[in-house]
């Protein structure tokens, strides 16, 4: 019954409730698929076989009694950034060697409370710093998609590369992910999956390893829009343990799916037409515009004049916050310790051995821009530019725009160990050019698959919404999904 792994969350939910299948069957199907294919993809860094079966048995018991939560019996993969009690949690870094938290993150606690089953922990860029999943201490993740007629291994995007690869290769029904500059939406676009970064404050950050606290936000990666709505409903909550958690009730996102978009005002920002953008991205964007127009939406040209400054401002704000957040990895409280001749040398040797190149680079940039004499020139300037970026969006929404449509990424997935990307960190950073504005302004954004490029690789569109209006994103993304169809890799493994 290997077909069980191909069910969406909503399909599996129906079969579980009607007792067509049991959670143990479904969970065993996924564990079997993981055991057979994880060597190929390197999507999981830890598989929790026993825990998964125990959770599935408990779910079956509840389901048999007609009980159970919104995700009862659904097997999920969890990004290694989420603290999971007693289970491998290392943000895919060497510096957290052996770390097993004594607590459970709010997001995963919410999922387990709703009945979800944990399959294991998913690979990611170290501390979520990367756009290709190649900075992981556990090695690169392989994208299940390959260009037509080629065996070349492609990246699944990052930082939530393990999440995206596992969902698209049927190694979990859905996965948690996090997004600081595009880390949910870019890998979703690279793998033909759906990924939503909710409004800042919608999902609790408590128990999630911190990268850049004013930008980090968790969300799901799933096979379709409905599944993303189902998972976000369970992940989101009002959490007294996170002081930036916003006190608003969590709506029933699934109810937004299927609502007509007639009369909705969709903004098309001219600044997202960047130099050197491949023709097929433009073509895809035009297709998206046509689909929404056909569904009765009103298309309006808009301007977000500070768009080009979002990425440079991000590369000051995010490293600055990271340098502060990652100061805690000192060889004293958890993880790796490398002995030194005194305590300072112990700190320096531990951090030198424990952090990878990209993480060190960002800590260094952050330390530099926050150091005496440079704070005003860099950090303060970046935070002022951030105010202007947010104001661009506020102006557009105040003028009546309901949702903004853009491409999700400037290209399809690229090769593992791509020389261009490896030789120039800024080139890698440009992957997030369309997604990073959304984090800077704290807005919700969803990536939805919309087509294939000339080589048969998936491409995504992004929808950006008003603060806390995730419902409009699900509603509109579903229209795109209906028009574009769904995309699955050809199974070669």
């Amino acid at each position: 019954m290997s077909d069980l792994t191909k069910l969406t969350i909503s399909e599996a939910r129906e079969k579980l409730r009607s007792k067509d299948i049991s959670s143990v069957e479904l969970t065993d199907a996924y564990l079997g698929a993981i055991d057979a294919a994880n060597q190929t993809f390197n999507a999981y860094v830890a598989v929790t076989h026993d825990k998964a079966r125990d959770m599935a048995k408990a779910s079956d018991y509840k389901l048999a009694n007609g009980e159970g939560g919104a995700l009862e019996g659904i097997p999920l993969g969890i990004k290694d950034l989420f603290g999971t009690e007693g289970v491998h949690t290392q943000a895919c870094s060497h510096v957290l060697d052996g770390f097993k938290p004594r607590y459970e993150s709010t997001v995963t606690a919410n999922l387990w409370a709703d009945g979800a089953v944990m399959l294991g922990k998913l690979n990611m860029d170290e501390f979520a710093m990367g756009s290709s999943n190649e900075t992981s201490y556990y090695g690169a993740v392989v994208n299940p998609w390959r260009a037509g007629g080629s065996n070349r291994q492609l990246v699944p995007g990052g930082s939530s590369g393990g999440s995206a690869a596992a969902v698209s290769s049927w190694l979990c029904a859905g996965a948690t992910a996090t997004d600081t500059g595009g880390s949910i939406r870019q890998p979703a676009a690279f793998t033909g999956t759906v990924g939503i970064k909710p409004t800042y404050g919608r999902v609790s950050r408590w128990g999630v390893v911190a990268f850049a606290s004013s930008l980090d936000q968790a969300g799901p990666i799933t096979r379709d829009v409905r599944d993303a709505a189902i998972m976000l409903k369970s992940m989101a909550s009002v959490d007294p343990k996170d002081t930036t958690s916003v006190d608003l009730p969590v709506p029933d996102y699934e109810a937004a799916i299927g609502r007509p978009i007639k009369g909705m005002k969709v903004g098309i920002p001219k600044e997202y037409r960047v130099d050197g953008m491949p023709e097929e991205i433009e073509v895809l964007w035009q297709k998206g515009i046509a689909w929404l127009k056909d569904a009765g939406a009103e298309i309006v040209d808009i301007s977000l004049p500070h768009t080009k400054y979002a990425l440079p401002a991000y590369y000051i704000v995010a490293p600055a916050e990271a340098s502060s957040n990652l100061a805690r990895y000192d060889g004293v409280r958890y993880g790796l310790r490398v002995p030194g001749k005194d305590i300072t040398d112990m700190y320096e040797q531990t951090r030198a051995a424990g952090f990878g190149r990209e993480v060190k680079r960002r800590i260094m940039i952050g330390t530099y821009v926050l150091s005496a004499g440079y704070y005003d020139a860099y950090y303060l300037q970046a935070q002022k530019v951030r105010t202007l970026i947010k104001k661009d969006f506020e102006d557009v929404f105040a003028a009546g725009v309901d949702v903004i449509l853009t491409p999700a990424t400037p290209s399809a997935a690229f090769g593992i160990a791509d020389q261009d990307m490896a030789s120039d960190p800024v080139k890698m950073y440009l992957n997030d050019i369309f997604t990073v504005t959304v984090n800077m302004a704290g807005l919700p954004g969803i990536a939805v698959p919309a087509g294939l490029d000339a080589h048969g690789l998936p491409l995504g569109l992004q929808l950006i919404g008003r603060p806390f209006d995730e419902e409009t994103l699900f509603q509109t993304a579903h229209v795109i999904e209906q028009a574009a169809g769904r995309f699955e890799p050809e199974k070669w493994w």
Binding site: T244, V246, R351, T367, L380
Partner: protein, 95 residues
């Protein structure tokens, strides 16, 4: 603005990351590439603009000033590389 190798070494020490000569050399180039990229922010007119402190217009929620946690020293040191009776062990700091 750009950095030289001496600055890179100073910043690495501030960040408590040991670097070799070779690391410092490579990082100088990488950091300058990134600093060159963010330079374009200087062209933005920010006169009269407040720096962002929060994306959501909300006062930080504060909890009641009561004890809600504690008595879990063993949990707190459970992941430490070296401990003794619920204390973290570090190399000698005071002679």
């Amino acid at each position: 603005m750009s950095v030289d190798k001496a600055t890179v070494k100073r910043v690495a020490h501030l960040a408590r990351i040991a670097v070799t000569e070779e690391d410092a050399e490579r990082m100088t180039g990488e950091l300058n590439a990134i600093l060159g990229f963010v330079e374009q922010l200087n062209e933005v007119d920010v006169s009269g603009v407040e720096p962002m402190t929060s994306v959501t217009p909300m006062a930080m929620r504060k909890r009641e000033d009561i004890v809600t946690d504690g008595n879990k020293a063993a949990d707190i040191v459970a992941n430490a590389p070296a401990t003794d009776e619920n204390f973290f062990l570090v190399p000698k700091v005071v002679e």
